[in-house]
């Protein structure tokens, strides 16, 4: 074990201790017994099959958002737009499902509904991600800000949608759509819980991710983040990298939107995204941008949220928002640990702004010409 590894492990241990200490301090500030709180947390997650199901209901969408965000993060494209892409995906999936019922009547088979819903969700999310990606590629518009602003546009569209063209004719307390046709709902995984077969999508996402990780595209993305100039000569232009990685994250978020509608709520609600987009970003970073870490981090985040509700009822005084505080502290800790492992998080400046030699002069074309001329030095760099 080399020194860097030891330092990294030691820091991880310190971070865990600090997070535990802060959690304890927060419980004490609330005037409760930390042990009672801890027992409430554990019982909140494990005391009944329903609670275990809730654990999966929370973890699955976050894991999928996180997994599909990884290529973008690896490339240094720091999108915070998953929240809005989930919303647009959910709207598209709901509309497509009702459209299909309208076209085929009630005879349509369930798998056809799932396929149409998933594809519509993915398309909706992907299209909504392409706009900021295109703005970033074309004019160097900061992705963090454009995706963030578009989240508000998405939430406005959702509010309008639920009031007008997809509104339920029933008189309901909160705006919502009609219930989806029964065939469109995803089957339950565990009886008596809200957990649904969408968990299989995480498996699919992990497999696809592992295939991607071994592909040329993944290599180009890595090179792009570290040495944009070299990457251009390998064919990974800024435009192409930003568009493809954002497309993947948008499609993933859109599928999550469909999943929340078809799997959990059975109808489109105003709360469809429920912070999944931001949690996904945090979980991707927390999981070290790798599938195993992301799966673990997603389950952990969900356990915190579900368990905090148990803690609130066990102690009576500790607000369940303690989960959000711990998540924030944890992410700070990860930022510190990640610093000891270079390359974990791409330098975000790589794609956030156009590099000095890029821009309206058509650097992409220049790069293409350079690649065609095949300078020997560059070939050596690529091999190394």
């Amino acid at each position: 074990m080399n020194r860097a590894r030891v330092r990294s492990l030691a820091l991880t241990a310190i971070v865990v201790v600090v997070v535990a200490a802060i959690a304890m301090a927060l419980i004490l500030v609330a005037g409760a017994d930390p042990l009672v709180g801890l027992r409430g947390l554990v019982e909140g997650v494990s005391s009944s099959p329903y609670r275990v199901g809730e654990l999966l209901v929370g973890a699955v969408p976050v894991a999928i958002v996180a997994l599909t965000l990884v290529p973008a993060l690896r490339a240094g494209v720091f999108s915070v737009g998953a929240e809005g892409q989930v919303v647009v995906g959910a709207i598209a999936a709901t509309a497509a499902t009702f459209g299909m019922r309208g076209a085929l009547g009630d005879a349509a088979p369930a798998p056809a509904y799932w396929l149409v819903g998933a594809v519509a969700g993915a398309l909706g999310g992907a299209l909504f991600a392409l706009l900021p990606a295109w703005l970033a590629a074309r004019w160097g518009v900061n992705v963090i800000l454009s995706t963030l602003l578009l989240n508000y546009v998405a939430s406005g569209s959702l509010g309008w949608t639920l009031r007008t063209w997809l509104a339920s004719p029933e008189n309901t307390a909160t705006p919502q759509s009609d219930a989806l046709p029964a065939a469109a709902a995803l089957p339950d995984l565990l009886p008596g819980t809200r957990a649904h077969v969408g968990v299989l999508l995480v498996v699919v996402a992990v497999v696809v991710f592992e295939l991607w990780r071994r592909s040329r595209h993944a290599t180009r993305v890595r090179v792009f983040a570290e040495r944009p100039a070299l990457a251009r000569r390998l064919g990974a232009t800024r435009t192409r990298t930003v568009l493809t990685t954002m497309l993947v994250s948008g499609a993933g978020a859109g599928v999550v939107g469909w999943m929340q509608v078809a799997g959990v709520n059975d109808r489109l609600l105003g709360s469809v995204s429920g912070g999944v987009g931001f949690s996904g970003l945090a979980v991707a970073l927390l999981g070290g941008l790798l599938p195993v870490g992301i799966a673990a981090a997603a389950v952990f985040f969900s356990a915190l949220a579900v368990g905090a509700v148990g803690m609130q009822s066990a102690t009576g005084t500790v607000p369940s928002s303690i989960a959000d505080v711990i998540k924030g502290v944890l992410l700070l800790g990860v930022a510190v640990v990640a610093a000891t492992r270079p390359g974990l998080v791409a330098p975000a400046h790589a794609a956030a702004a156009p590099p000095p030699d890029d821009g309206a002069l058509g650097a992409d074309e220049t790069a293409g010409a350079l690649a065609a001329s095949g300078e020997p030095v560059i070939a050596e760099e690529a091999r190394a």
């Binding site: 004019w139 160097g140 900061n142 007008t164 303690i322 959000d324 505080v325 998540k327 502290v329 002069l361």
Partner: protein, 304 residues
């Protein structure tokens, strides 16, 4: 629309722009020094909570001070993480925002448990500048505002002077544009970056307290509603200059005020259009500024 409504919209625009101006000029320094504070939203919401808490004990001015103190503490924390522990500035920023939103909600729920009535505190009230406030239009809009509006204007001038006329301002610009040559000339980039972030943090915390104590007089979880990110957008739009930032803040403040008040008028548009208008227009202006920046950059390359 009636003239009175337009006057109310303009009055609201200045009040809504004030916190954005305050946080924005701070972030202008941060970005001039070559750094980025993505945690503004978290700093603002914690500043807002601290502001209301302190104001409930010792009055609105103590609330503003508490907000600034929270901001400087958070700024120091970010500095320690980024410089001493070499953490990624962007991840730290995202984490500070998560932490700020979570912690302010947690502490608020301890202070005001669910089911009890929210604590409300005295606001600063309006300053009436004598005969000036009787002027038509300009009177109510410019001369009978909350003190935070005047404070924002004064800060704007002070910060412009700090950036233009002092050694610190020069160092910030030198470090931001070329840290290596600045270091060769005896400026310490780390010290300058740290000071810039402390200043930015202080102003972000103050801005949060301004929202809570300046006009509303109460805290609600998530009350900053993304304004911290709007600040980042207007700093880019304003090309990091105090005047540009102030204009960006006024534009957003105007749109927000308009969307709040124009719904009650004859223009029949869905309320969601009004609600998203400020964000949509901010995005459009952001695109236009980015495009212009790229063009300028290209022109410079062509002449070089």
């Amino acid at each position: 629309m009636s003239g009175e409504l337009w006057i109310s919209i303009l009055v609201g625009a200045l009040a809504l722009a004030a916190p954005l101006v305050i946080a924005g000029i701070g972030e202008g320094f941060v970005e001039r020094a070559g750094r980025l504070n993505l945690g503004i939203e978290g700093m603002m919401i914690l500043g807002a909570f601290a502001g209301v808490y302190a104001a409930s004990i010792a009055g609105p001015w103590a609330g503003l001070a508490a907000g600034a103190v929270v901001g400087v503490v958070l700024g120091a924390g970010v500095n320690a993480l980024v410089y001493a522990l070499r953490a990624n500035e962007i991840v730290v920023g995202v984490a500070v925002t998560m932490l700020g939103l979570g912690l302010s909600t947690y502490l608020f729920q301890l202070w005001v448990p669910a089911g009890t009535t929210n604590v409300s505190v005295d606001t600063l009230g309006r300053v009436d500048l004598g005969p000036l406030s009787d002027l038509p239009v300009a009177g109510p809009v410019l001369f009978a505002q909350s003190p935070v509006v005047y404070a924002a204007a004064v800060l704007l001038v002070l910060m412009w002077a700090l950036a233009r006329l002092t050694r610190f301002g020069l160092q910030v610009r030198a470090v931001g544009s070329d840290p290596i040559s600045a270091a060769l000339r005896g400026v310490r980039p780390r010290a300058v970056g740290e000071r810039a972030l402390l200043l930015g943090g202080t102003l972000a915390g103050l801005a949060g307290a301004t929202i809570a104590v300046g006009s509303i007089g109460a805290f609600t979880p998530g009350m900053t509603a993304g304004r911290g990110y709007i600040v980042l957008a207007i700093v880019i739009m304003g090309r990091m200059t105090p005047i540009g930032i102030a204009l960006g803040a006024l534009l957003f403040g105007f749109l927000q005020s308009f969307s709040l008040l124009a719904q009650s008028t004859a223009i029949q548009l869905p309320s969601e259009v009004y609600a998203t208008l400020p964000y949509l227009v901010t995005l459009i202006v952001l695109v236009l500024t980015s495009r212009a920046a790229l063009r300028r950059h290209a022109a410079r390359l062509r002449t070089a």
